[in-house]
Homo-oligomer: 227 residues x 2
């Protein structure tokens, strides 16, 4: 699109969290263009005049990083007067949590690079992107207390240890094993299978799957998972 | 401010819910200017070039309705391509819940009138304002399940019936009395006083107040109040 085809005062930035083998990551790009060329940033860009916001978010993310059809939720709109150096630009932040291994990155357009960074070692980000990331991280941690997670992040059949690792990763903390199991099993969210993890070193761990019906129900109705 | 001093593509709309003697209301204005002159709308306007968003929201609300210093939370940004008839305008919605009796309305600027309408009988609204209201109402109903409410809405000392009426009003439903009391008292949120409501018809009802410390704690930490 040419410059005139964008709403010049509105951008979208995407906070894409990645669950990667027990580590929480965030997708960053190295900017190819000014302002802040060479700086690390959340993938972001301007909204097309003829694009609805949710569509624009997907388009921007795909153009910069190659990630296709990612379901994102709108998080918050950032609009401090001096947040962007060239003009008054208000940015709508979208967020998602995906499984790193399911996707391949391909940097293009305003992204010299597109890289998963561990959340614990994020470099300095351009503009107000560090604040955006902080808000998104806080929201993610709050959301996992109110909604089940794991459906798109774990294998179909998983052990309780794998599920606990997911929670520990997102919350960036360690949880008491016995307490976690008691709470998660108390929610009737999991179905215990008569199958066990293969190749486990000592004794094989039982596999579980989500009760899809219950998962959907809790997703829409919410719960309180005090961890 | 002159036209050039606004960001022409960004507006803010305010969903101000009012708790009014057992009825849930929403603040609407009758528009004084085109587009949709004479139509009922949420109070809204453009963002000043030199205004942060939170400040702009307060300014707009005060200019149109006379409501001062209302604490609002940013809710969601609406940006469908055709949501506004004259140009591409993206609107950031802010929301609040206040006590109708605490404030006086004074319509001005783009508001011919500023009126509290019962949520159950809202007229047709301009642009996508009905959708904004629906989203805000849904969020309000969800939030009361996760956070305590009432501090700014009830008298300092209140009866359990008054508190239940507040919940019933916001949720637009009736709740079982015994169940409600059991749950609310189980949260250690209330302090029972050795005082009773005056002038009660049959027997006087006990007065309660919020445990301020616990209220704040639950407000930030969240809970699950299954109603």
């Amino acid at each position: 699109m040419s410059h005139a085809e964008y709403v010049s005062s509105i951008s979208i930035d995407c906070v894409i969290f990645g669950f990667d083998e027990g580590e929480l990551k965030v997708l960053l790009i190295k900017r190819a263009k000014d302002p802040s060329k060479g700086g690390w940033a959340l993938p972001g860009g301007f909204v097309g005049q003829e694009e609805d916001l949710d569509v624009a978010a997907k388009t921007i993310l795909e153009e910069l990083t190659g990630l296709k059809k990612i379901y994102m939720e709108q998080l918050h709109t950032f609009g401090d007067v001096n947040r962007y150096p060239l003009a008054r630009v208000i940015s709508i932040v979208y967020a998602s949590l995906i499984k790193v291994g399911d996707y391949e990155l391909r940097a293009a357009d305003n992204a010299q690079e597109a890289v998963w960074h561990p959340v614990s070692e994020v470099p300095q980000l351009v503009f107000d992107h560090s604040k955006m990331l902080a808000v998104a991280l806080e929201r993610l941690k709050r959301d996992v207390q109110y909604q089940p997670i794991g459906f798109e992040l774990l294998p179909k059949k998983f052990t309780l240890t794998q599920l606990q690792t997911l929670y520990e990763t997102v919350l960036e903390t360690t949880l008491d094993k016995r307490n976690f199991r008691k709470k998660i099993l108390g929610m009737d969210l999991l179905i215990a299978l008569d199958e066990f993890q293969r190749g486990a070193p000592n004794r094989a761990a039982r596999l579980f799957k989500f009760d899809t019906q219950k998962y959907k129900e809790l997703k829409s109705k919410g719960f309180m998972f005090e961890l």
